[in-house]
Assembly symmetry: C2
Homo-oligomer: 195 residues x 2
């Protein structure tokens, strides 16, 4: 049990550091020191740095999934407003972090997609799961007459996911919420316009 | 003159390596070796690795600007089709590279925005210049009646730039043109629909 707690602590510290510095630039030693784990003990918890990185991704994805559920399964709200609530919540969260960190999955995708096939595959599965959230929400919006039936929900979900990831990148470089706010406003004023 | 050629060669080799491996993971020694420049001579060409990185960004931005001009200044084509031609060209280029490399400015923004203020500022200037290309094109489309006048061209340009950068990231992680093609199609079928 204690061993399991320590493993989780290593994952949490690793998540924070990798979010800021990236995967390659984050040394295991720093994480172990911060967790008070002796140098030689790392392999009691993880087989390799790669396995550690994958555990971080899995833990993040699982926690993020719960967050997504809290918005996308909120049936008191119309489908398109559920999605909007999620974007507004993320905007507040990114602003709170002063546009550092960005999106862990986007960051690692950018850094590792060409370097490590195991990472790339895992990250792609997570992106696909997010896309599925968006498309299911758009299908529901169509069923409820909130969104025109001439849209392909899969295509639109992919378009929205790309736009959101790109806006997070822009906010990181601009150190401003401008592109994030603009993405949400423009999306809802044009593509998702409900008149 | 020969010195200038060698400097350019170092920049070109550096651009290739940084596009694939990122800035931090690219060692100066490898670049010098590839260019046949003795280790100690690096500082004859650049004051620091940072200055070298900034020279790479400037060289890339300047070359990319010429490429953008070849599409956006092609007055034989309607404004919205000029932009579409640029996207289609980029799609072909990214496909040719098998979705490695991605966008150098996006990559470095992702990697360095939180680590180095000089890089962040320079990258943001380039993003802004691209946004200005897009918005000028959209203004022209409005003047020619190709695009409705109810759009804010600045906001739309920012939305399009974010979506395109996000699509490049998605193509890198998916190793597929799907998101890029989908971005272009969806953009032109929805926001930029010319009926």
């Amino acid at each position: 049990m204690k061993n399991k707690d320590k493993k989780l602590e290593l994952i949490e510290i690793g998540t924070e550091l990798i979010a800021v510095k990236g995967y390659n630039a984050t040394g295991i030693d720093v994480i172990l020191k911060q967790a008070g784990v002796p140098k030689g003990s790392f392999y009691n918890y993880f087989r390799s740095k790669e396995d550690f990185g994958l555990a971080i991704i899995d833990q993040f994805a699982s926690q993020y999934d719960a967050k997504l559920s809290s918005f996308f399964d909120d049936y008191n709200v119309s489908p398109l407003n559920r999605m909007r609530n999620y974007f507004e919540h993320s905007l507040a969260h990114l602003t709170e972090n002063q546009f550092t960190k960005g999106c862990l999955i986007g960051n690692l995708g950018q850094e590792l997609a060409d370097q490590n096939e195991r990472f790339r595959e895992r990250l792609e599965v997570i992106f696909q799961s997010w896309k599925t959230r968006f498309s299911a929400c758009l299908v529901e919006a169509q069923e409820q007459g909130e969104l025109g039936s001439d849209f392909d929900p899969e295509a639109l979900a992919d378009f929205i996911l790309a736009g959101w990831e790109g806006s997070i990148l822009r906010s990181k470089v601009m150190k401003s919420s401008e592109s994030l706010k603009n993405f949400i406003d423009t999306l809802y004023l044009t593509v998702l316009r409900t008149t």
